[in-house]
Structures are given as structure tokens and as C-alpha cells.
Amino acid sequence: MTEPLLAVEELAVTYRKSWRSSSVRAVDGVSLGLNSGEIVGVVGESGSGKSTLGRALLGLTKSTAGSIRFGGRDVTHERAGSRSSGRVLQVVFQDPFSSLNPARTVGSILSEPLEMHGGMSADAANSKIRELLLRVGLPADAMHRYPSAFSGGQRQRIAIARAISVDPDLVICDEATSALDVVTQARMLELLGSLSAERRMAVLFIAHDLAVVAAIAHRVVVLYQGRVMEQGPCRAILASPLHPYTRALELSSPVPDPAAQRERRRRRVEALAASTVEVSQEVPEVGCPFAPRCPEAFSACWTSRPKDNAVGDRTVACHLYDADLAPNPENRRNETA
């Protein structure tokens, strides 16, 4: 098998707020892979380290351990720009307002990546920009206007146009649709999906909303406190989430249908009866970060870090799926439904 486009091994990012305080592990041993044309969703709540992971992959934040290979090259210690020297990496940020320089026209914003990748004549660049704007569904005369003339959704289209202008192999979307209204978000997801399909462009789609990730991703990585809880094919994970955290996430996400939502609520209350309001215990230093909130936690969860257990075609970092540790073999959910 050929090497994936992006291979991340045991990546860690540690912060230190001041020289005295202990360090915070924002990303803690994350491994994941991404093939060309594949859309992988990274889902996690606030503080899960999903945005830090994105910034570390882009080279905007230094990683403290682990390795990142992009297009077959080790880019772990390269700065943001030079990561794109072989295969091309691009980004779409969350906030459509601060991600476009208000003092520059749309045309000049879009030509920025172009001028750095391959010298292009002004005419060629102009027609390329026109083509890009039409592709993302904006009129070609938008290039002469400033970002302030556009709505949030349109600005995000401009940000996507900037990202795809250099035919990137991988686009990292950090909460790219979170600031948008649902109808605009749906169109944006559709646009990203079709762009990825037609250009064989890989997308790492970072979001806090499992339902949004489910709408676009082929595979899902579930992050919690900087660690991967579960990863695998999107459909399988949604059909039967294995990790207790994934289950909590899945059942907590409300659906716009009162009858179905009542049913989900019932299931959630059943499954997570013991969920705690105040975190009564500190997150264990060595054990599983989800243990204090986990309805199925047992003693090993507090004393040893769960390893990535392979279950079918996914991995689950939970002791329940560890043959040596699971307390009760009958309780073990080894088969994927």
C-alpha cells in the first residue's frame, strides 16, 4: 500500500501559560492518516484540541512531539509556508470576517497564493480568479470589491476560492461552517464535497458538531481533551458508536423532529444516567481523560491509559474493548452492529 497523503504519528502540542505553571497538553498523542480525495472529519468539544491540531498540521503552532509526514516528506519541523513545497496545503478558517484582509480587494486576496505558486502573468491570474469566483458561486466582478461588501457566507466562499486557487492536495477546514446559518452551511458543505470529488482534494474538516461532520466526511476522528477516542468510517461510527464518549456525543446532538428527538432523549437518559454536572474528580494524569464523566468507568480507567484497540475497521481508545482489562466479558461490545 502506498503512503497516505498525510500521516500523523503520536503528535503532541504542549502549552505553558507562564514559566511557573505546569504545561497543558492541548494535543496528546494523536495519530491519523488521510488519503488523496478523502474527507476526514475531526470532531470534538471546546478544549478538545481540535483547532490546535489543525494549526499544528499547518505549521502555525510548533508540535512538541511526534511526527507529521505530508506527501511523503517529514514536515514536522518545517514552518507554515515550506510545508507546501512538494504537495500543496491550504486552509479555510472559521471566521469569515477576520480571515480576509479588509483593506484588500477580493481579486488581490485571491491572487496572493497564486503569485507564490508558479509565476503567472497578470492576465492569466485574472482569468484564473474569474474562473475561481464562478466556481464557488460568486459573480466575476466580485474581484474588484472589498470583503466588506459581502455577507458571511459569501466571504467564506471567497476564503474557499483562495484555498483552492493553487490546486491544493489538502485543505484544512477549521470550523469552516460554524459561523454560518444552516442554509448557507448546507451549500458550503455541498461545495466542499463536490470540489473534493472533482479535484481529488483531501479535506480535514474540523468541527464541533457531529451532525455537520457526518454530512461531509468519509471518516471521523473523535477527539476529547487532546486524545483520539475513536476513529473509523463515518457510517459505522454513527450507526454504532463504541466509545462511551462518542455515544454521549451522538445521543446529545438534537434532531429537528420532535418524535425522533423524544426517542433519542429517552435513550440518552438511559445510557448516561450517571453523567456528572460538576467535574467532581480531576482528570486522571495517567488514565482515561473521559473517566470522570464516563457512566461505564471502572478502576483501570483511572490508573492506565487506554490503548487504541482495533475493533473491525476502527480504533477505540477505551478499556471496554481491551480483552485483558474489560471487567466483564459479556459487557464487552466487540461486534459492530
Binding site: L60, A215, E278
Partner: protein, 589 residues
């Protein structure tokens, strides 16, 4: 041009700033052309008319040696205006590059530069300049340069902070990812952000320098005694204060008006940049509404009275009728354009829509909290038959205290960061329920327990910043309940929370609503949240309600095309093909 350029242009064309700028231009031109303009030789003495007032010969009078004050002012001004540029230029030349580097690179460079700036701040400027004057035999250029170095710390700070702010903008990150070289990022994305603050700083520093140089020549330093200078004129005027008080008038006016004009222009630019402009003169809300009411009474056809009449009003906790709210000028579209709805007692009513649909404005109008410059143009809001819009501020305060509770999107905003949770809650309980100190603290504990906090005593001693988002929202719900309201208005209460926490807060709201048989008005953009909590729902778009009905009906069999679109666009977990199928459908049509 850029928005920043526009803002500056708008700011300096306002009357005060325009007059100041005009004055600066006039005085600079006059001083520059002193050779042609001045009626006399500034050094020519006329000992027959010393210390005279204004005459036809000497328009602004003469000094103690009979020299023309106007000519001396014009000649002295040119030297002063030009020399004052030197320190400003020096401090820009030092402060800006160092500030750019420190703000962009951060780390040790930043620390070192900050330390250097601190050292400069600690130096006594006047003493150092006096020392330079002594050593260099009163060399004004050198003194100005040294003064520029001493004040470069301020320019550095301004440049460094503007750079650091721009450095963390996502568009700079995007440029980094696009391999844009550093010097181009600095020139293209960061320098423009410095232009505004630096312009302001330069104006302020220029006027400061102007005064400093005048003070020096007042002390007899700097400008050589032979050449006229404003400081020397001030000194002469001060010496002869009792003989000829007139002389102080032209000299003092020239000096203060110029410094004042410089400061006013700098301040106008600052205001243009930070947007501290006075709000456009919107008519005061209450007056405006009465006028609208009068209009409505005159033409009853424009005012449907379908809801307030009959039984609906009796069953309803809250009736909103033909509510109209505007933010901009009269010809702009209304933010709320004739909303009518009735919320029954004890029900949970959802108001859904996208951003800008007017849902939050409608809900805030119920509390009389429409943010300015918004104003209610017409309509009625009946709470138990009482028209809230007819109440004054004190009546509204009473309603907010006892009848309506508000839960906002940002729980942290609802909590005062300076006080503990317990003291805020006790304060409200004593105010709203008239409880004694002891009873208040008991009730506070009960309320915190009621909103699902298992350790109310611990939470009560904590400050808001110590709480997680979910607990903060529970506390703000407890605060909203302190007046035992009949209606709870919840404005996107879970939007800022994680989904797992959101589900818990929704459970809590559902339980409180049934236990206290409270009416709930929920504003949300999330149809899933509405499906979870609400009995009935109204869908809003462009300030109007497009569809209203039971949640079951609106969400599963929507009649309006917009509701259908909204429901289809909402990503859901039980069917991951929803969105792509929407895309296909859109393309097909």
C-alpha cells in the same frame, strides 16, 4: 479606499476637526511665507514705540524693544514648526521598525525591546535635554534628536501593539500558509494596520514636542537668542505683564490655538479609527412610538386586533401584536416588520430563524431591552393583559424584576465578574423577594440545587471566571429564577455550549418549566433544540413570521417553502445523505 481611510476622512471632515485642520494649514502657510507676509523686519527695533498695543503700524503691537510682534510670531513659528518635526521623525524612525520586529517575532526580541522602552520611559526627558544643551553649546538640532530618541518608546509601544494585534489575524495565518515571504506579509497585511494608530500618535507627539520646544526657549535654551521664537515672546510678554498685558494675547493665542488644533485633529482621527462616534441622531424611542400609535389609531385598518380580543388573550401569558421595530433610517427595512404571536400559559414557545431574521430583537422587545439605535415603531406587547410598551422605565423594571426572567446566550455576560455567585444571587433575592439576609442565603442554596448543582455551597463561593460554561449557564438560570417569573425568555441559551452540556441544560429547562408551570419563550437558530423543548414554534424570516404551529406539524409537515428549506438544510445524524441530496435537488430545479 480602505474602511480605515474612509473612517479617518469622515472623522476629519467633521466641523471641529475641519476647522482645526484649516487653522493648522493657515498657520503653517503663514509661517512658511513669513519672509513675504511679515510687515516688518522681525529684528528691526523701533525704540520710540516699545510695548505698544495694536496700532495701524504694528497690527499686533510691539515688544519691549519696539519690534513688531506679528512679524516675530510669523518668523518664530516657522523655526518651531520645522524643528518640532525632528523629534517626531526620529521617534518614528526608531519606534516603528523596532515595534514591527518585536510585535511580529515576539519572544526574546519582544522582551528586549520592551525592556529598552521601559528604560526610556524611566529617563527624565527635560534633565537629559538640558544636559545635552550644556554639553553641545545649545545645539537645537542635537537636542531635538535626543528628545526624539527619548520619546521613541511611546511610538514603539503603539507600533508593537498594532503589529501584535494584526499578527494574530487569521488572514496573516492564511498568508503564511500560502508561503508569502515575511517582508511581504509585513508590508501588505501588517503595515496598513499601523497607519491609523501611528497617525494619531504622531499628531499627539507633535503637539507635545511643540510645547516642549517652546518651554525650552522660554528658559532661554534651544533657539538662539537672536532669532525670534514663541518661547522668547512668551517670556517677554510674561516679564512685561504689568506694563503691557496686551502682548500676552496674540502670543498666547498663537500657541494655545495651534496646540489645541493639533490635539483636536489627532483626537478626531482616533475617534474615526475606534468608531467612538456619536450615534446618528435617532429620535428618542418612546416619543417615536407614541407618534406611531397615534397614526395607528387614526387608521384602524392597519392594525389587526385579532389576538387581543376574545379568549386567546385570557389563555395567553404573552401576546405580541403587530410589533414593528426599526434600527436604521425610516426608509430602511424594518428589523421586525409586524410580528403577532400568542404564547399560551405554561407552554414552551420557540422562535426560530436565521441570523438577522429579527427573532432576538422580538424577544428583547418583550423585556423592553431593544438595543439602541433600535426603536419600537408600532405594536403592542401584552403580558397578562398589561401593555408593556405603554410602561415607563420604572414600570418595566418592575416587570423585569418579578414577571419575566432572561437567560442570554453568553452566561458569562449575565454574571458580574467582581462578585461571587452566592453574593450575586443573594443580592437579587433580597431585592426581588424582600428576603432577610439569612432567608436569602438559604433560598440561594435551594435555587442552586434546583438548577442541578450538586454542591451549591462550593459554587456559591466561586467567582464567574472559575465556572465552566455549563455551570455558568445553570447559575444564570438560577439568577433568572430569583424573581419567580411567570415567563422565562431564553435567547439562544445553549448556543455557546458543547452538545453534551447543551443536552443537560435543555433537560433542566424542561424540568423547571414543568415543575414551576412556567411559560418559556425560546429563541434559537437550532431546529433540533426547538424540537427537543418546544410545544409550539414560529419560524421567522426577514422580520416576519412565515409559519406558526405545533412543533410536530411545523417540523414534520412544514407548509411554507422557507421552513422546508430550513429543515432540509439542518444536518441530522440519522440520515447522513441529507445534505448531498439537498444539493442535488437544488441543482435539478
Amino acid at each position: 479606499m480602505t474602511a480605515q481611510g474612509d473612517a479617518i476622512r469622515r472623522a476629519v471632515t467633521r466641523p471641529v476637526a475641519a476647522i482645526s485642520l484649516g487653522w493648522l494649514v493657515v498657520i503653517s502657510l503663514a509661517c512658511a511665507c513669513a519672509g513675504w507676509l511679515s510687515p516688518h523686519d522681525p529684528l528691526a527695533q523701533d525704540l520710540s514705540t516699545t510695548l505698544s498695543g495694536p496700532t495701524s503700524e504694528y497690527w499686533l503691537g510691539t515688544d519691549d524693544l519696539g519690534r513688531d510682534v506679528l512679524s516675530r510670531l510669523l518668523h518664530g513659528g516657522s523655526g518651531l514648526l520645522v524643528t518640532a518635526l525632528i523629534p517626531v521623525g526620529v521617534s518614528v524612525l526608531i519606534g516603528v521598525p523596532v515595534g514591527l520586529l518585536a510585535g511580529y517575532l515576539r519572544g526574546p526580541v519582544d522582551t528586549l525591546a520592551n525592556f529598552a522602552a521601559d528604560v526610556l520611559f524611566a529617563m527624565p526627558g527635560l534633565v537629559v535635554v538640558l544636559a545635552v544643551a550644556a554639553v553641545t553649546d545649545n545645539n537645537i538640532t542635537l537636542m531635538a534628536i535626543v528628545f526624539g530618541v527619548l520619546t521613541s518608546g511611546v511610538t514603539y509601544r503603539v507600533a508593537r501593539n498594532a503589529t501584535a494585534g494584526a499578527r494574530s489575524m487569521p488572514y496573516v495565518d492564511a498568508a503564511l500558509v500560502s508561503r508569502l515571504p515575511r517582508r511581504r506579509i509585513l508590508a501588505r497585511h501588517i503595515l496598513p494596520n499601523l497607519a491609523g494608530p501611528l497617525t494619531v500618535q504622531t499628531f499627539i507627539q507633535y503637539s507635545g514636542t511643540f510645547l516642549f520646544l517652546t518651554s525650552l526657549s522660554f528658559l532661554g535654551l534651544g533657539f538662539s537668542p537672536e532669532t525670534p521664537s514663541w518661547g522668547q515672546l512668551t517670556l517677554t510678554a510674561a516679564h512685561n505683564m504689568y506694563v503691557n498685558p496686551w502682548m500676552m494675547v496674540p502670543v498666547g493665542f498663537a500657541l494655545t490655538s495651534t496646540v489645541l488644533a493639533l490635539n483636536l485633529v489627532g483626537f478626531a482621527i482616533l475617534r474615526g479609527l475606534t468608531g467612538h462616534r456619536r450615534p446618528r441622531s435617532a429620535p428618542r424611542p418612546r416619543k417615536d412610538r407614541r407618534a406611531a400609535h397615534a397614526n395607528a389609531d387614526a387608521s384602524p385598518a392597519t392594525r389587526p386586533l385579532r389576538l387581543a380580543d376574545g379568549d386567546i388573550a385570557n389563555q395567553s401569558a404573552l401576546v405580541i401584536e403587530d410589533l414593528q421595530i426599526a434600527f436604521g433610517a425610516a426608509d430602511e427595512a424594518l428589523a421586525v416588520a409586524g410580528v403577532s404571536l400568542a404564547v399560551r400559559k405554561g407552554e414552551a414557545f420557540g422562535l426560530v430563524g436565521e441570523s438577522g431574521s429579527g427573532k432576538t430583537t422580538t424577544a428583547l422587545a418583550v423585556l423592553g431591552l431593544v438595543p439602541p439605535p433600535g426603536r419600537v415603531l408600532a405594536g403592542q406587547i401584552l403580558l397578562d393583559g398589561q401593555d408593556l410598551l405603554a410602561l415607563g422605565e420604572s414600570g418595566l423594571r418592575e416587570v423585569r424584576r418579578h414577571k419575566i426572567g432572561l437567560i442570554s446566550q453568553e452566561p458569562m455576560v449575565a454574571l458580574d465578574p467582581c462578585f461571587t455567585v452566592g453574593s450575586q444571587l443573594r443580592e437579587l433575592l433580597r431585592l426581588r423577594r424582600g428576603l432577610s439576609r439569612k432567608a436569602a442565603s438559604r433560598t440561594a442554596r435551594d435555587l442552586l440545587r434546583e438548577v442541578g448543582l450538586r454542591t451549591p455551597d462550593v459554587v456559591a463561593t466561586q467567582y464567574p471566571h472559575q465556572l465552566s460554561g455549563g455551570i455558568a449557564q445553570r447559575v444564570s438560570i438560577a439568577l433568572a429564577l430569583s424573581g419567580e417569573p411567570q415567563i422565562l425568555v431564553a435567547d439562544e441559551p445553549t448556543t455557546a455550549l458543547d452538545v453534551t452540556v447543551q443536552a443537560e441544560i435543555l433537560d433542566l429547562l424542561r424540568r423547571l418549566q414543568s415543575e414551576r408551570s412556567m411559560t418559556l419563550l425560546l429563541v434559537s437558530h437550532d431546529l433540533g433544540v426547538v424540537a427537543d423543548l418546544c410545544d409550539r414554534v414560529a419560524v421567522m424570516a426577514d422580520g416576519r413570521i412565515v409559519e406558526e404551529g405545533t412543533t410536530e406539524k411545523v417540523l414534520t409537515a412544514p407548509e411554507h417553502a422557507y421552513s422546508r428549506q430550513l429543515i432540509q438544510a439542518t444536518p441530522r445524524l440519522n440520515d447522513s445523505n441529507e445534505i448531498t441530496s439537498l444539493g442535488r435537488e437544488r441543482k435539478a430545479t
